[in-house]
Assembly symmetry: none
Homo-oligomer: 216 residues x 4
DNA sequence: GATGAATGAGAGTTCATTCAT
DNA sequence: TATGAATGAACTCTCATTCAT
């Protein structure tokens, strides 16, 4: 049975859930299709079990992000961790997101709790940052998580399709930088549109800087 | 034929490309499958035609983002525009991204050029911001676009699946805010220590003074 | 209509009768399928017309084998003529043989008479040879024709499939030689099994010959 | 499964490979199409299996042509053997010749070896005859085989279509006679003038005489 | 004469699932 | 506990043919 799960994971990563044929799983596991259905009622159940096993493994291996250190470092660590996980098994994650999450019963599934635990680190860091006043509180956490996940996913696809290279660290850097700075609390003027004194000085500085550059 | 295209778009939005059976399209259009194949050589070709028609419609309707105004406003307008478009037909966008883009011949397809035109606004704003020094230049544009698109997509799915509410304006606000501030150029110390107004004015005075000196 | 016939011939030669789609013919002729059916009741009728036109052309172009000269030369000329014709349009010939000939009405078709005319040369030469006593009369003409046609066809396939090279002249030589000598009348002993004096001498000759060869 | 193979053979013999629908096979075997695809990946694979089973059966049943006896008898036996085989299952043979042989991988298929074994007898007899000098060596073996096969095939078709009668023995006689005599080595003058017994004995005497001289 | 849209039957193939053993 | 044969519905695609205009 463990073998079936192992092969099923292999197959879903290669083909995606829709194209992941039970027959292929059986063949690789060296059993017949009937055997798979002996253990799992449906194809869906099989892959739920795969996802659960995967989560269990990942949760065990994943040491929690340190609660100390600068907020930026902690955020970066959390994002890096997510990225590595998704990057390793994007099809499983996608299966959960696309096939399981819409299920009305999703919130009652083990997977839901496990998924929570996995994303908890990131959520905690963000909430903590907001609580301490280091991050703004007017952006819905959900939107932030979507940008992070969505950004990771899009980059992962391209990578899986051999379009361009992909570095976990570069991706982590880019996402962490944008999210952290994007959420960092600053004098409210930062986003106002009649320039504040600060902004006016900033503009000045830029001009001077570029002016100096052009002279050399 | 227009009817077939209309129904095909309906079907792909409901089921996604993989599950969008030609039989269903035919049924809705009130014709037999053979008729669909009379007009379109393959299922893929049918949906390429759908995508092209959709793009054409969207490009016509979409008034260009204003080139003037603050960078933030322009970025926000571009993001809003993308968001509304994707939000209306996420399956078509996903079809292009997942089925067409990996095709080696993608760059020679009409769709490629159309897609370019549509995403050009956003790219232009970002490049402009970088050129003017208002945005940092060390984050790959591709990563930024992935965060925006990915973020939009993730929010869109949830909405389509009737999970929670969704407001185009709220989503636009959240994404725009994070991206703009996340990319905004600031004194390098930004993360560690931000120089006081006093310090900055002092620096300015020194520079201006020396600048004047060098002119004599 | 002439254009349709021209294209139909092209198509049948490329794909064979079964795979020769009416749509493809229409496309090449620059008309729609309906137009083809305007002129020809069925696909079969279309290709019968093709075959008839082809026969007419071939019969016109094909100057009759000379009635003079040695029997061998005349036979060779007839075979060469057949070979060249089949070789040029094997699919049309095959269509007639496989689709038309089994038809109970075949003998009433124009094609039947035309086909007769075309194979008449060969038949005439053979009959003539038999009548003059130069060829044996105990082999059914039909069997001989089958060997010639079958042999030509088999060689033609291989050629069309790019298996090995093919020379019309070599094929003509081989077939003509075997058929002529195979049918040539000789002292009845030739095919008996207790060796005749002739055969015994022949054997002797061969042995002496090979013995001489081995000495050099 | 054996039943499926049996019915498939039946169907291909009735319709030929192209028209041999899997649905028809399934119907006759009393199963659904899916069942056929449970055992055979594709229609082609199904008929390859049919061909292999058929070859196996034929090879078992076919006692080898005797290596002794006159060349004519051996050739006749080989031809008769081929004729009977093709005559029983011409569609299978045609399938191999037309669908399988052009496949670049043909030479690696089981069928290739089996086919070899079956045609080996004929080839061996011909080569042997050539080696012993009883048959001429200037006609390509391939051309000879094509005449034999092609001739058999043409006669077979006609028979299967109930055109005229057909006797295995008559066909064997005709083909064997023509091929044997057609290839039989004779004094080069054969076609123009055949030396009399007197002339030949004279020649022999001269040779023997000089041969004796050279030995002293 | 010619169009071209539409048909309908059938092809090969896939696959989750069932069930007697 | 496991087998593996069998199912049946769905899928993409093909094509000869029809018919109102």
């Amino acid at each position: 049975m463990a073998e079936i799960l192992r092969c099923a994971e292999e197959v879903i990563e290669e083909y995606g859930y829709d194209q992941a044929a039970v027959a292929e799983v059986a063949k690789r596991a060296g059993v017949v299709e009937g055997t798979v259905y002996h253990y799992f009622e449906t194809k869906r159940d099989l892959y739920i079990a795969v996802a659960e096993a995967w989560y269990r493994r990942v949760l065990d291996a994943n040491q929690p992000t340190p609660a100390s250190g600068s907020l930026y470092d902690r955020l970066r660590a959390a994002i890096r961790s997510e990225l590595m996980i998704i990057c390793e098994s994007p099809a499983v994650v996608r299966f959960i997101l696309m096939e399981l999450r819409p299920d009305p019963a999703f919130r009652d599934m083990q997977i839901f709790a496990m998924n929570r635990k996995l994303t908890a680190a990131l959520t905690r860091v963000l909430k903590d940052g907001i609580a301490r006043g280091e991050l703004v509180d007017h952006i819905p956490l959900r939107a932030v998580r979507d940008m992070i996940f969505g950004g990771i996913e899009h980059q992962t696809w391209a990578f899986l399709r051999n379009e361009g290279d992909f570095s976990v660290d570069d991706a982590t850097d880019a996402i962490s930088y944008v999210i952290y700075n994007g959420l960092k609390r600053r004098p409210p003027a930062a986003v106002e549109h009649s320039p504040s004194l600060d902004e006016r000085v900033e503009t000045l500085e830029r001009i001077v800087a570029s002016s100096l550059n052009s002279k050399t």
